[in-house]
Amino acid sequence: MIVSDHLPLKRIWPAVSRKLFYLLLFDLSISLLYTFGGMKFLAISAFPLAPLVGALSIFLAFRTQSAYGRWWEARILWGGLVNYSRTITRQALTLIDGTAEGLGSPADPRHQIVRLQIAFVRAFRCHLRRQNPFPELESILDEDCIRRLRQHSNVPTGILLESGNVVRKAQEDGRLDSYRWVAIDNSITELTNIFGSCERIKNTPLPRQYDYLPRIFVSAICILLPFSLVEGLELLTPVASTLISFILLALDTVGREIESPFENTVHDTPMTSLSRSIEINLRQQLGDRRSLREVHPVEGFIY
């Protein structure tokens, strides 16, 4: 996610630079042919530039709005993950019976649930970024649990199943009555819902027509621009045309980039930062004295 006050153009530049370069050459040749080559027929003054650009702007704005909707929903879902992670930790620590001394034991169900929740958040992030979660899980889960999780193609779901089993075991051991069990299980269900919603955003792209048509229209208008401008601007046509093209291309590119908030780009939901915040909170709730570092923006971007 971009947190810098100014948008660093060099991050957008690679995507549009090649197109702009070819457009500049094209605009330049139209301008030279019109001015020095005597090809006056190149000027199409009747070309309805303003209505076309206006119509395209509406299309681009609609597409950008739809893409932003996805991006914002992703952020809301991760906000929900923060809340439910804190909730399930609080519930594990306050609803499951046990002594303060017992909490320090890794075999204690309260301890297990909090560790599994930290592991879930790590695996959740990795799953959305299509990244291997196991190097991160090995430091927090025992070998048997890791071995079981390696059997799952969907590791976060496997972790939630482990959490459910720990809660059930605590209930069987008499450390949890049915009402409290249901309360904790509801929180696990909410985590499943959040995970499913993020997977939906990840796996369902914006309708391809929203992506394809604006791209075609932007390209068409960028090509037609110099014909419309050359009569009035002559040799200045490449400057004006390239500038307008850059604006349209940048709008198109930004809309396309924010539509996928889990794709390892600078436009992502800042999952690394959020998962670190969750982990810090959960460790503190558990009484872990070791402090983890906060994740700060790097060169204006937070991941």
Binding site: R129, R130, Q131, R293, E294, H296, P297
Partner: protein
């Protein structure tokens, strides 16, 4: 890296998009308790304060701290020289350097870090041009290939590639491209390729018994820019080892890494000219995330 797969990884980072997109590939490599990762950043003290850069270094690839086998090193000075110097001082098994983000324009006078490390370094270089899509970086390799190029230490290179294939438990292919035949001088068909066409294959049969995986040999002849990608596609190689002769090519705007890498979506490991001179060097001490940063 001889007789074992790479375990000591260096990731020099400029915090760019390309570096960020390399993280999924690194996490696949790190899924092994023997792996150790060093993240290195070089900064200019005239432009940035150390405390600020420290925060950035700890925030970049923050999840690596969870691995427990990761250290971060902050060095001040000119980036290329410092990284090259560091790689010479410390014998890493693999240095991760992805391709820079494409600007869309030829970069006249650009000095490639990858080329410098391949020409002057001693550690193999991991690289990838698959930045836009990045699919090959997000999954473990499914097929390993070694492109043989008649270098002195080709046996070491082959062994290293074979052990890596064994580590991933995937098929291993040896790719060899015979030089194009010179048919204009009336030579006989039997010896138009090389003077001793069976020489490398006989040696390979001897060596094959010592390797941990069976070797599947694929050969062809012709233009390497056409034939190599074809052979690599045929064997679905997505982790490709290349010798230094093939890794670097001289182009119109200077020396660059071989353009073949752009045509194959996968991970490449290129052996530098000085590969094999790693012995008798002491390896750096590993620290965990709570240790302070070191400054060179």
């Amino acid at each position: 890296m001889q007789n074992q797969y790479p375990t000591r990884l260096l990731f020099p980072t400029s915090f760019s998009d390309a570096c960020f997109k390399t993280i999924p590939a690194l996490s696949e490599w790190m899924d092994d308790p023997n792996m150790h990762l060093t993240i290195l950043h070089v900064y200019d003290p005239k432009k940035k304060k150390r405390a600020q850069v420290e925060n950035q270094l700890y925030s970049f690839f923050a999840e690596a701290d969870q691995y427990g086998r990761c250290e971060r090193i902050l060095v001040s000075g000119p980036a290329e020289e410092s990284i090259t110097q560091h790689c010479k001082q410390v014998p890493y098994d693999l240095v991760f350097v992805p391709a820079s983000e494409p600007t869309g324009f030829p970069r006249i006078g650009h000095k490639s870090l990858r080329v410098t490390l391949l020409q002057n370094g001693i550690s193999p270089l991991w690289t990838s041009e698959d930045q836009l899509n990045g699919n090959s970086l997000r999954r473990r390799p499914t097929s390993v290939a070694y492109v043989m190029s008649n270098e002195e230490n080709w046996q070491d290179q082959l062994t290293a590639a074979a052990y890596t294939a064994s580590r991933w438990n995937v098929p291993f292919h040896l790719i060899y491209l015979f030089p194009p035949p010179n048919v204009g001088d009336g030579t006989l068909a039997a010896d138009i390729f090389v003077q001793d066409p069976d020489g490398p294959l006989v040696e390979l049969q001897h060596l094959g018994t010592k390797l941990p995986v069976p070797v599947r040999v694929r050969t062809s002849t012709g233009n390497d820019r056409v034939e190599l990608p074809r052979l690599l596609r045929e064997c679905s190689a997505d982790l490709i080892f290349m010798g230094s002769n093939l890794s670097v090519s001289r182009g119109l705007f200077g020396t660059t890494v071989n353009p073949i890498m752009k045509s194959i979506p996968g991970q490449f490991i290129c052996f530098p000219k000085g590969y094999g001179k790693l012995q008798n060097q002491e390896y750096i001490r590993m620290v965990d995330q709570w240790e302070p940063l070191r400054s060179n």
